[in-house]
Symmetry: C2
Subunit: 242 residues, 2 copies
């Protein structure tokens, strides 16, 4: 694997320290993690883990965006997860994954060898508790996504996606109204169960409807938040996807 090492950051100064799998750890527990962790970086487009590969490491995303995707025999692809900083890759107790993990942007991971991590897990309830919580959150998000995939129209799907970006920008605390599409049209399509042409057409429609305004192909601002929310098909505050 084409891996680049990155300079070490102490856990206590890590940007994802309060949201990642280590969120509940105390100082002594962080020390243990610090000793067995290593950083790995991937360029945009690189595959981080192939479906079925022996899972030597489990990791937290420190920076960048990764995607989880599954492919059918004939090439049809469906994204089944989007990993943002602090999200966890890998499943303790299983030595392969049933989907590909790909770097959508340049990605930096905080990695642990699986076996030592699993041993640590047994004696560190703070980590396993957090892992359960994160798995449950992911399950909630997956269920919202199932509603989107099974029942929403193309317009509603894209509106939901944009709304998710809006929500996330609030969490990140960036007060800038300008948003960035973290994925290509094709990746967005893969996420939403659409074709890239349909995604493009719906973006055009949003522009014509005065809901968004594009600065260039990747950067845009939401002009009419109410209309966007209306277009998602959800209730005012429900159905929000992490």
């Amino acid at each position: 694997m084409n891996v680049q090492l990155t300079e070490r950051v102490k856990c206590s100064e890590c940007p994802i320290r309060h949201r990642a799998v280590c969120a509940r750890c105390d100082d002594s527990e962080l020390d243990k993690l610090d000793k067995i962790k290593s950083y790995r970086s991937f360029k945009a487009g690189q595959t981080i883990i192939w479906r079925g590969d022996d899972l030597t490491h489990v990791s937290s995303v420190v920076a960048g965006i990764a995607t989880l995707s599954k492919t059918l025999d004939d090439g049809r692809m469906q994204m089944v997860g989007l990993l943002l900083p602090s999200d966890f890759i890998g499943r303790p107790g299983r030595d392969t994954l049933d989907f590909d993990v790909t770097a959508a942007s340049d990605v930096t991971l905080c990695s642990f060898e699986r076996k030592p991590f699993e041993r640590l897990l047994v004696e560190t309830p703070h980590i396993s508790q957090r892992l359960v919580e994160m798995a449950m959150d992911e399950l909630d998000a997956a269920r919202d996504w199932m509603v989107l995939l099974g029942r929403k129209t193309a317009r509603e799907k894209l509106a939901s996606f944009v709304q998710m970006l809006v929500q996330r920008s609030h969490i990140d605390g960036t007060a800038i109204p300008e948003l960035v599409l973290p994925l290509t049209r094709e990746e967005i399509a893969s996420y939403l169960g659409l074709t890239l042409e349909t995604v493009s057409r719906q973006f055009t429609q949003f522009r014509k409807d005065g809901i968004v305004e594009f600065k260039d192909r990747r950067n845009f601002i939401v002009i009419d938040h109410a209309a966007l929310l209306e277009a998602t098909g959800d209730d005012a505050d429900g159905g929000v996807i992490v």
Copy 2:
């Protein structure tokens, strides 16, 4: 809630003892569970938990089938989970669910009050470990379902559903080739992201193709397993949904 009590079964003699949340418990741990458990029964069609309801209990399904579903403003509904015996209802650490839980058949639950259960969870790693494992399995299943909802045709969706029933009948060990549809056409449609008419039409097509043979509306046998598998759109053994 229209609840009926059912006679107590000792945990050690419980039919789901080795698959449910208690699977890893030893005798002394089972004793603790035995003391705080109660049985509750629901008639087919009854709602077990409404979305947003205060979650007083968490439960294991002992017998019957329950569905998890979400509904959009305008009434569109999507099933987001199917609970079979041994599956768990409820999320420790959260006091509501974001979906409705409904009895698809007559259902018997083994329930625990949430608060005592959560206390037990802290001091009983065997239970929390099993809970993680089950959540992870559910997440895997949810991801397979996302591929189905996002990318498969109506024919492939229904074939995948029937194939799941076949798989499950093997697990249950019933050597009888006759299978039972545990859901109505409408419920199947809700599960597959289709309309009930489309489900009906695809069943008819399967009959015409000689893949299945119906004894009546609910009971059928698979005649051509190879063709069924072919029709799922998955690889030979991959993409199986539990």
